[in-house]
Symmetry: C2
Subunit: 373 residues, 2 copies
């Protein structure tokens, strides 16, 4: 019997059944045929594609049709700046960076400071904007191509976004937001309007170019509801429907039943964590191990519920051969959790050192990336 779970743009709870989400949201699974096509067009497959972490889509075949006809697409993703960045937030960004490189795509990166204020994360709008700029450092530190990356905060780029948002808003009723997001009469009118702001960047490349530009949105599956609305209004506004490609959510370090979450600091590795703190989080993480060493040697452990194995699989072990070896030795009992954690920590440590250095350098590079009105 499946456990109950909740996946909305603002709340993820319980053990997520990703197959059921495909059915409930009405998206399509990324098939082996589609993977072959991606391999052909991109020249390789990102590990998240090979491993089914990026697993669902809308209209990806259409985007590739256009690409193969010589019509390049733009990429659009975003960040709701409620806190510092943990590696779970970065999951779609790693993948987006790969798409940018492989398809030479211009990336529009929306920072939704208005959203995070409206949904009560902040008392002052300016606090959300400030956290937004902190997050921008992490985005730049990812290594996106400055010539092909346009980052903007809603409150700073609103002059460009608002007319598009108003066009969308005219075609979205309160009933629709009730059905899609579960809004009620007690929701504030900024929350209700907000989805039209998240739709706007999907149409911005076409507005900028003055002609139809296909847009692909890589995002966590939890953000899909917004773009169902954006896709619904697109043809009525004369814009192409944005295509989507969805990733699963990185599990919490604290164990099953939740994604890595900014409101639970111990649940994930944050980019600004000290090395000592990050190491402690890794060493204290929930695993699929047994109660005793003896038992684990005898029965083996379970990598499929293990937050450490998820970190290997989702991010930190690009080599499929070694990943398989980790999986095998975990299950056979050859590998003990302490050693496995230390091995992962080695990878996390070098990632964190590099990222933190890049993040420092990003402070001087912000103006190469930011769009303002």
């Amino acid at each position: 019997m499946p456990e109950e779970f909740v996946v909305t743009p603002w709340e993820v709870r319980g053990q997520i059944d990703y197959d059921r989400l495909i059915t409930e949201f009405g998206t399509e699974r990324i098939t082996s045929e589609l993977l072959e096509r991606l391999q052909r067009d991109a020249g390789e497959l990102h590990p998240m594609l090979r491993r089914g972490i990026v697993y669902s889509h809308r209209d990806l075949n259409w985007i590739l049709d256009e690409y193969e006809k010589g019509h390049p697409f733009a990429l659009y993703t975003g960040r709701g700046p409620s806190s510092g960045i943990h590696v779970g937030h970065m999951l779609p960004w790693f993948f987006t960076k790969w798409l940018q490189e492989r398809f030479r795509a211009t990336l529009y990166f929306q920072i939704t400071d208005d959203e995070k204020y409206l949904f009560r994360d902040f008392e002052e709008l300016g606090e959300a904007t400030k956290v937004g700029y902190e997050n921008v450092l992490d985005i730049i530190a990812m290594g996106f191509d400055p010539k092909r990356t346009k980052i903007f905060l809603d409150t700073e780029y609103i002059h460009h976004l608002y007319p598009i948002a108003v066009e969308a808003a005219k075609r979205i009723t309160f009933s629709t937001t009730q059905a899609v997001f579960g809004f009620e009469n007690a929701n504030n009118i900024g929350e209700i309007f907000y989805t039209s702001l998240q739709a706007a960047p999907a149409f911005l490349p076409s507005v900028d170019a003055g002609r139809e530009i296909p847009v692909l949105i890589p995002c966590g599956i939890d953000q899909d509801p917004h773009f169902r609305i954006a896709r619904d209004v697109a043809p009525r506004l004369g814009y192409p429907k944005p295509a989507l490609i969805h990733n699963k959510l990185l599990p919490s370090l604290l164990g099953p039943g939740g994604k890595m979450s900014a409101s639970v600091p111990e649940s994930g590795i944050f980019t600004t964590d000290s090395l000592a703190l990050a190491k402690r989080k890794v060493l204290n993480a929930f695993t699929g191990g047994r109660a005793t060493v003896e038992e684990q040697r005898r029965l083996g452990a379970n990598p499929y519920i293990c937050s450490i194995f998820a970190n290997y699989e989702f991010i930190f072990e690009p080599d499929d051969g070694h990943l398989a070896e980790v999986e095998r030795t975990c299950k056979s009992g050859e590998r003990l959790c302490g050693d496995c954690k230390l091995e992962l920590w080695g990878k996390v440590e070098s990632f964190l050192r590099r990222h933190q250095e890049a993040r420092e350098r990003a402070k001087a590079r912000i103006e190469k990336f930011i769009l303002r009105d």
Copy 2:
């Protein structure tokens, strides 16, 4: 038994009972004590005040308290650009101009092109913006002081307005918009959000100055619902509540049961009407006259249902003595409707000639008035 009537920001219908509106909206009548105070502070009373056309308010005593303490107030009014301007639209503008001169007040003039698009007056947002600029010519032609007048279109000044609107929106629920405007689940999410944009300029003077600036909003009583919401959220945002001063609505030239309306061209004199067309409208207007000349000479006519008399009273006859003479001779039967119309036409004609010339000159003066992001 009073006829049924409807007064909302988007619809005015039926014979308006202005006394009942004071009760229903919860505003205050402008008393003779308040008129004396205005006379003292302004040095005179505008005819619309003397005649009870500007008849209702919220917190006007507080605004005068502040003024007398040496704290000047700002003025804020607006225009929803759905069409050309008729003299009914100009009613609050005449009065606002007088307030600006008498109280040396800075005026913020909002052109709500987004509103008019969202509420279905236009298929394209750009059409509303274009009509907005046509309307700005009429505003400038009124003779507002360019050093003290800031005109802005929502879509062009949104970078300044949006953060304030979002602050307000966070504190306004959908339930509130249902209660105040009668919105339903089928309303679009732009309509629902819009009231926060109409609230924003009430707080803009304080934001601009970095300290609390009292704001007085002269407007038709039909716009009061928006500002009930603005006043409700103001203290929670740390801004002073805007005060209001309300005028009655100029009746239609076609007779009782409606205000002058842009959707019924024959109902009012438009600033861009040719003199011939305007004259025809005046001569064809509904009056309080009798069926025959003989009957009118014998029984007199009724100025209180007469659209021509309303035009004398509301706008075109500043001299109370002559207005009283028009009223008396109408009621006594000395004055016949044809003559009365021709006399009014003389006043309307010279107003139109002057306004149309000033409107032409305004085309070169737009940049003295417009604020943009």
